[in-house]
Symmetry: C2
């Protein structure tokens, strides 16, 4: 390792920004199992996917051979509004932990949506516009994906309709207001605008809604558009999303090269897998090619432990069972994390690509309780300045533990983690933690179907 | 002007960051009038100021000769956590306005406090720590200054007590929560902890509080500390604050040099004046030295028009009349902006330095109604991505009008404006605007004492 002096923050120049996305599947000899149509029990065809997704995205979803895919110029132009994101040397955290390790984080929160989600939102909106579609639909829980999609929609001139889980719609009005600023239409889900919504409301008028129901409404609204000018878009899990998010890892790789470093340990939080899949993309490619062998650690909440306690099998991507079946680590599509869980990452499954890499022992996984995660978040905020999102804080906790392991062993390793976003809209959870009211709830074996 | 290709965002390297602050007073032949002690009617002495402020800050407040002042290394280290801020070319806005002008903005919102306030918070906390003080007190209205101070306090290990105006304390719990994350103690003002607070509560138990009252409580808490280990800190208006904020302008100057540009028009919002004073610092220095002659436009709200409709005279800095007298443009220290005003910049007076420059015709000023400002804010958000703070949006509106003037005249000028912060905590106001419920209220001549 060189002794080159490393700045607090490394930014790429505009010329150094990625011009191609990296397709992990193109580097995998053993490919992930295909999506399956639950009706036919056959692999989904492009034609079938095109009913729900726009064409170029369906193409990307199925593309398992190309190693790189050109990023269209309108998307790289959009990326320039908020990228490059900085690679930050966490000097303060290193000193606080008194570790010989070097700790870096790639910070994706410096945009109004507050997270990395914008990287895929831009791509999905652009392709929808290019195809001449009239609108896209999606669901949102906490609201980061919906906000990102609204921002991209405003920029490219594509109407966006967001089905927002009722409890979030009512308790997070600010999230809804941001989407409105960017011109998106936001509907509380379940709603009277879809058959799925009306059915649930007829049975449970007082329901708080759920992500599963919101997905059902968004998909229904897309596929039942009589003029067929609407498609559904999704912010995580899918292979296409990991493809778009590879800009995170590609920028990280170039930044590390500029400061003369190679990652020994890469840590990312894992809900649906979009951030971790994007962060590790070029490093996993090197690992698959035998050129490097970094440890990769996926960090998930103990309350929703799909990798660490789930089963690797075909399952629905949604609770409503209307999507294709994906082979992935899953807690079962009926699994609902404990209501007291404040830290995001509430998805029952895991990206099929990451699931395959985990099954092939190319990725490790660990889980933490939310109080341990918030403790790491507050420590980080006070030392490094930035208020992290609860989701991102899982990676902070993972990186801290990796750095302490280096300290115990006297190893001067290079640790890189993904700081996916900011915690501006999670302050109620921070307040619960600081006032000692936050509790942990780990699902029983029975609850996750073991 | 060179035809050099300008990137969307220009970042300085760590080596290019300012190592000295620029003291505008050092460049002024006609100095601003001194602060006056209302008891003695004489200019405040350093000894008097040291009762309230820490020593080095009192020294900076009175320093009218040095052109540059070294930034201590612990402060430049702190700045590296969130600086440099980018100088952004507003390509999208230029295209939307179809103007021959080039529009740039210096974006100060990429830190958790969400604004430029952190630049002075870091300095004030550092000097308090260096002096061995045990705590600092301050007041906060909307909460940006309190958040910035809490962040700096957490980093340097200095306890921070924030008197937060009761109506904000209750209506903006998230702002309070952020300060708690950074370990600050936040008190709803008026409180039972000070004589000033008790007196107001005895007379008006149901009061919403006011900035004037919160200042009184914060100053009282500082000066009555029996061990005399506490001082009061302030986030705007003062000369020392403009000094610290000069990093904004110095970075802007270096970034413009890197891309081969000189500013023709500089636009900033003006409440107490900290942002505008910092942004223009090196350019005003050149103007005072006859080396350049950019137009400088201060933009203020029509609801609180201190420069455009105020009087240039000695007045108290606070509503409670416990501070020194400053010679400044003022609407009268009893002036309270209309309650319906959502856009910040609610201060009755203006920085003495900026007041003097305005009186000397070195700065222009203009004002806008809040609905016009929010209209510009929404346009900007949709085109440029970032959700601006209402305060910053005054500058956006000013820059748009300057660019349209260039269009009318066919002039290819370089416009630079300050985007001081983000609007995450102002979404209620955005919602009011979008739903058509926002109204404008311009004070009558009688209300501002004409």
């Amino acid at each position: 390792m060189s002794d080159k002096n490393v700045p607090y923050k490394t930014y790429l120049t505009e010329e150094e920004l990625p011009k191609k996305w990296l397709n992990i599947k193109g580097f995998m000899k053993d490919k992930p199992a295909p999506l399956i149509n639950p009706a036919t029990r056959e692999a989904c065809t492009k034609k079938e996917l095109c009913e729900v997704f726009c064409e170029e995205l369906a193409e990307q979803e199925l593309n398992a051979t190309d190693k790189f895919i050109d990023i269209p110029k309108p998307i790289t132009d959009f990326y320039k509004l908020y990228r490059p994101s900085p690679l930050v040397r966490a000097y303060g955290l290193e000193k606080y932990l008194d570790t010989p390790a070097e700790i870096y984080y790639k910070f994706e929160g410096n945009n109004t949506s507050g997270s990395h989600k914008l990287n895929s939102a831009a791509a999905q909106i652009y392709y929808a516009k290019k195809q001449g579609l009239k609108a896209v639909t999606t669901e949102t829980g906490a609201g980061q994906w919906g906000t990102a999609l609204a921002m991209a929609g405003a920029y490219f001139g594509m109407p966006v309709k967001v089905y927002m889980v009722k409890v979030s719609y009512e308790q997070k009005p600010f999230r809804r207001n941001v989407m409105n600023v960017y011109g998106a239409s936001v509907v509380s889900s379940p709603s009277q605008t879809t058959e799925a919504g009306r059915k649930i409301l007829a049975e449970h008028l007082d329901t708080n809604g759920s992500l599963g129901c919101a997905i059902s409404e968004a998909v229904e609204a897309a596929v039942t558009d009589p003029a067929h000018g609407t498609r559904y878009v999704l912010g995580s899990v899918l292979d296409q999303v990991l493809l778009h998010q590879s800009v995170i890892g590609l920028e990280t790789q170039t930044a590390l090269e500029k400061i003369g470093r190679k990652p020994d340990i890469i840590v990312g939080c894992a809900g649906g897998g979009s951030n971790l899949g994007g962060l590790i993309a070029p490093f996993m490619a090197e690992k698959l090619e035998g050129k490097a062998n970094p440890r990769v650690i996926a960090v998930e909440p103990a309350s929703c432990p799909s990798l660490t306690r789930g089963q690797y099998r075909y399952d629905f991507c949604d609770t409503g069972k209307i999507t294709p079946l994906a082979k992935m680590y899953t807690l079962g599509c009926d699994f609902i994390p404990a209501a007291n869980h404040a830290g995001g990452l509430r998805y029952h499954g895991m990206s099929p690509i990451l699931s395959k890499l985990y099954d092939d022992r190319l990725i490790e996984a660990t889980s933490y309780t939310q109080t341990a995660v918030f403790d790491a978040a507050v420590t980080f905020a006070r030392i490094e300045g930035t208020l992290p999102a609860p989701e991102s804080s899982h990676a902070i906790k993972g990186a801290i533990d990796a750095a302490l392991e280096c300290k115990a062993k006297g190893e001067k390793k290079v640790i890189v983690f993904g700081l996916t976003g900011t915690g501006y809209f999670d302050l109620k959870a921070y307040d619960e933690f600081l006032s000692g009211k936050m509790t942990d709830r780990i699902p029983t074996d029975k609850e996750i179907g073991i």
